[in-house]
């Protein structure tokens, strides 16, 4: 017995057959049910877990068709157009699905029809029925109004005027119906009867290309999976070549015998179609995931999907048939590291036009940057004048400037005499500066206080180490906040 809280009272939301046999009904108060039968076992409803279970089932249903959509909290739509012959026809497919669900311990009802509406009605009100195209009307006619997927208020008002079955609604003149009950009623009716197309929006985007292999004997070993990936990638290569494209994103679906589905995705920095390289990428990913993937009793269906594609530039090899491409090597290296350690493992700096040192270089994941493209020169922008002596910049910059204690400066606006950083005291031997860098007011949200100006100093301590310090704020300025000192970077 499962209870849920509805309008400040615990009510039964679902119950099993034994509960039904006790004449309990969904919607009944838990207190009443307890009064009738004190020994009933009540569990709090967990919509999140139900949702997860339904998604897991949807994942599993991916093996029959890539177009799987969730229907409310307790249903799934499978668009099996063009898929049935792979499983031996509609009847055989429906039987397979039902029997496999039954073996997994689920009590399911299925209907198969040419329109989603008719299939919905067949599944919920007839059970295990295949509706041929054109028979929708005969199916729907004797069914109650709920089979039309209409809102409860519309249903109640239709019943109040005496239209109690779908057939009665179909027989009624359309114009008064639309006027009185809104367009949605006729829309649902037309969709169920196939007069209007209804699209099932799939849960996952459909991959442009995918290859799969059903296995008579489930596989468990990672090596076997990798080998299979190599074979599937070989099959993909022909398709990709025909389209003149390469894969930018790939996903491997491992369907476990007991219904769980693992989805393993890898991304590439440049279009890829070589089976060996695809296999190596998945090798890294599988190595990284070895602990988290539970093979259980084995995988009986392995599918390799191309999630996104990009145009593939063909390259001519030399006479020996070798293409030496350093960039491709590095891209592949970056992809492998990414597959194993995640997106942030390979980074590259990108220069940004900014005065603020921490903004002047953006560190982005390797795959994001366009390779070897110069930024388009804007015609209305004059190039920044080249300075003969560019300002000195440190070679290492702290991610967050580290606060330092400065007990004394020689002059109020001058460099410190000594400072304390990470609990060690440093004596300043020589200093250069200041270099004043103002905050970027055009980036501040309106109404915000202006960020303090920074005065940067190059400092050499008594040991010859060179640091980059700055003082944030000015002495005796408009704000009463005393200036603070930070260490921002180190020089060579």
């Amino acid at each position: 017995m499962i209870s849920h809280r509805d309008s400040n009272a615990q009510r039964i939301s679902a119950l099993d057959e034994q509960g039904e046999a006790l004449h309990l009904k969904p919607g009944m108060g838990i207190a009443d049910a307890r009064a009738m039968h004190p020994s009933i076992d009540i569990v709090e409803a967990d919509p999140e877990a139900d949702r997860r279970l339904l998604e897991g089932l949807a994942d599993w249903c991916d093996r029959y068709t890539p177009l799987v959509a969730l229907d409310g909290i307790d249903g799934l739509f499978l668009d099996v157009t063009g898929c049935t012959h792979l499983f031996g026809g509609e009847r055989a497919m429906l039987d397979t699905i039902l029997s496999r669900f039954f073996q997994q311990g689920f009590d399911v009802r299925a209907g198969l029809a040419a329109t989603p509406g008719a299939a919905w009605a067949a599944a919920r009100f007839c059970g295990d029925r295949i509706v041929l195209s054109g028979e929708e009307e005969t199916l729907l006619a004797p069914l109650p109004l709920a089979a039309l997927r209409i809102a409860p208020e519309t249903r109640a008002s239709l019943e109040s005027v005496g239209l109690r079955t779908a057939g009665a609604v179909m027989a009624a003149p359309r114009a008064p119906l639309a006027r009185r009950f809104g367009a949605s009623l006729l829309l649902r009716l037309d969709q169920a009867l196939g007069r209007l197309d209804e699209a099932v929006s799939p849960r996952l985007p459909v991959a442009p290309l995918s290859v799969e292999r059903h296995l008579a004997e489930p596989i468990v070993q990672t090596d076997d999976i990798e080998q299979l990936v190599g074979r599937l990638a070989t099959a993909l290569k022909t398709d990709l070549e025909r389209r003149g494209e390469g894969a930018r994103g790939l996903a491997l679906f491992l369907f476990r015998v007991d219904g769980a589905v693992n989805r393993i995705a890898v991304g590439t920095s440049r279009p890829l179609r070589e089976p060996q390289l695809i296999r190596r990428l998945f090798h890294e990913r599988l190595t990284a995931l070895e602990q988290t993937i539970d093979a259980g009793f084995g995988f009986d269906l392995v599918r390799l999907c191309v999630l996104s594609v990009a145009a593939f530039d063909m390259q001519q090899g030399d006479l020996a048939g070798e293409v030496a491409d350093d960039e491709a090597d590095i891209a592949l290296f970056a992809d492998r590291v990414r597959a194993r350690l995640g997106d942030g493992a390979v980074l590259r700096p990108v220069a940004v036009e900014s005065h603020l040192p921490e903004r002047a270089v953006a560190i982005v994941p390797f795959s994001e940057t366009p390779r070897r493209t110069t930024p388009p020169r804007k015609p209305d922008r004059v190039r920044a004048p080249m300075t003969i002596f560019p300002p000195e910049r440190p070679i290492r910059l702290f991610r967050a400037p580290e606060p330092i204690e400065v007990p004394a400066t020689e002059m109020p606006e001058g460099p410190p005499l000594r400072f304390r950083w990470r609990r060690a005291l440093y004596r300043v031997a020589r200093a250069e500066g200041p270099e004043r860098i103002a905050a970027e007011w055009w980036r501040q949200p309106p109404g915000d206080d202006a960020a303090a100006t920074r005065d940067y100093f190059r400092i050499e301590d008594a040991d010859g180490r060179r640091y980059w310090l700055y003082r944030q704020g000015l002495y005796g300025g408009a704000s009463k906040v005393p200036p603070r000192w930070f260490l921002h970077g180190v020089f060579a």
């Binding site: 590095i330 290296f333 970056a334 350690l341 990108v350 070679i395 290492r396 180190v490 020089f491």
Partner: protein, 354 residues
């Protein structure tokens, strides 16, 4: 005197034996005074004259076949001590004694990278490090690298991993690639995972690919590794900026480094002060007695905390055992090339605890 001569003979023979067995690395040996190279060894031993020293260079194996097996640092005495420069296809260790020396260590490594990039134009450089070191010592700043070492931002690839094992894996995978100009691996301290085996793997891959792997180790004690060369880098006070009217008092000029040879098959322990010229991208050796910084070092009030000593087989302290007098110092051995007492003490004996 006779005892030392016999001891030298023995050491000489042993070194030659080692060179024969290993066969890959060049071995510079100083022939014992008056000793003649016997005829049997002459086939293996090719003599090369170094100015002012009676030196013999033993080169065997592939290293002899490659004329550019070395990266000349550009400072005459250091190159001579390393018998031609840093090995190009090898793992080289660059140590900094404390984490705050990270700027100098990275600066020296990047200067070497800049020298490498002069020959391997346009190839990218991979810098691998753990999050810990990038947090403690700062992330490499592309603008500064471009200004000081001429490395374009597009040539830089970083790899940041949270775990040391992952960093080692990335470095190993990168070391075998010929599409990278150099791999810089930065590690802090003496982790257990970075042992002889791990460094040997890195070294073997660098040898096979013919690309250098620079292992930057911050705040690490010397320990046995497979790297043929270990340099200990500290920053040296910079010379004032040169202007038309002479040096500008109080200004901070080009970066300078104090390099100590911590380990080398060929060199004696020595200390050198190099100055990096960012405009020409070459090293200038500073020969004057700019030792003012050394004396000032004593004033530094920072307590030096001792590193953990829990590891087995700590390396013998560099520079403790001297078999031969310093290279090129005929007659009076200069003390200038030797590590100062204070510097040696930092990685030798037990230190003061903070």
């Amino acid at each position: 005197m006779a005892m030392t001569a016999v001891a030298r003979e023995t050491v000489f023979a042993l070194r030659r034996q080692i060179a024969k067995i290993e066969g890959t690395l060049p071995e510079r040996l100083q022939a014992p005074a008056g000793a003649l190279v016997d005829a049997g060894a002459a086939a293996d031993v090719s003599g090369a004259d170094f100015p002012g020293a009676d030196l013999t260079i033993v080169r065997r194996g592939p290293a002899a076949a490659l004329p550019d097996a070395f990266l000349p640092v550009g400072a005459g005495r250091l190159d001579a001590a390393l018998s031609g420069g840093l090995p190009k296809a090898a793992l080289s260790e660059i140590h900094g004694q404390e984490t705050r020396d990270a700027g100098a260590v990275a600066g020296f490594a990047l200067s070497l990278t800049s020298l490498i990039l002069k020959q391997a134009q346009g190839l990218p450089v991979l810098w691998v490090g753990t999050s810990e070191i990038f947090h403690e010592a700062g992330f490499p700043y592309a603008r500064g690298l471009h200004a000081a070492f001429g490395i374009e931002p597009g040539q830089l690839v970083f790899s940041e991993t949270s775990k040391l094992t992952d960093a080692l894996w990335v470095a190993e995978e990168a070391a075998r690639m010929t599409a990278l100009a150099a791999v810089i691996l930065e590690i802090r301290g003496n982790p257990q995972r970075l042992d002889l085996t791990a460094t040997r793997r890195l070294h073997a891959r660098a040898l096979a690919a013919g690309r250098p792997v620079l292992l930057l180790r911050q705040a690490a004690a010397p320990e046995p590794t497979a790297a043929p060369v270990r340099l200990i880098v500290a920053s040296a006070p910079a010379a004032p900026r040169a202007t038309v009217a002479g040096p500008l008092a109080g200004s901070i000029g080009r970066p300078a480094f104090t390099i100590t040879i911590g380990k080398s098959r060929t060199a004696l322990p020595g200390q050198f002060t190099l100055e990096w010229n960012p405009d020409e991208r070459v090293f200038d050796e500073r020969r004057g007695d700019e030792r003012a910084g050394e004396e000032r070092r004593a004033e530094n009030p920072v307590a030096v905390v001792s590193l953990s000593r829990g590891r087995k087989d700590p390396a013998a302290a560099a520079g403790a055992v001297l078999a031969f007098p310093a290279a090129g110092a005929s007659g009076s051995p200069t003390t200038r090339d030797q590590p100062s007492r204070q510097q040696r003490a930092t990685h030798l004996g037990p230190r003061r605890a903070g």
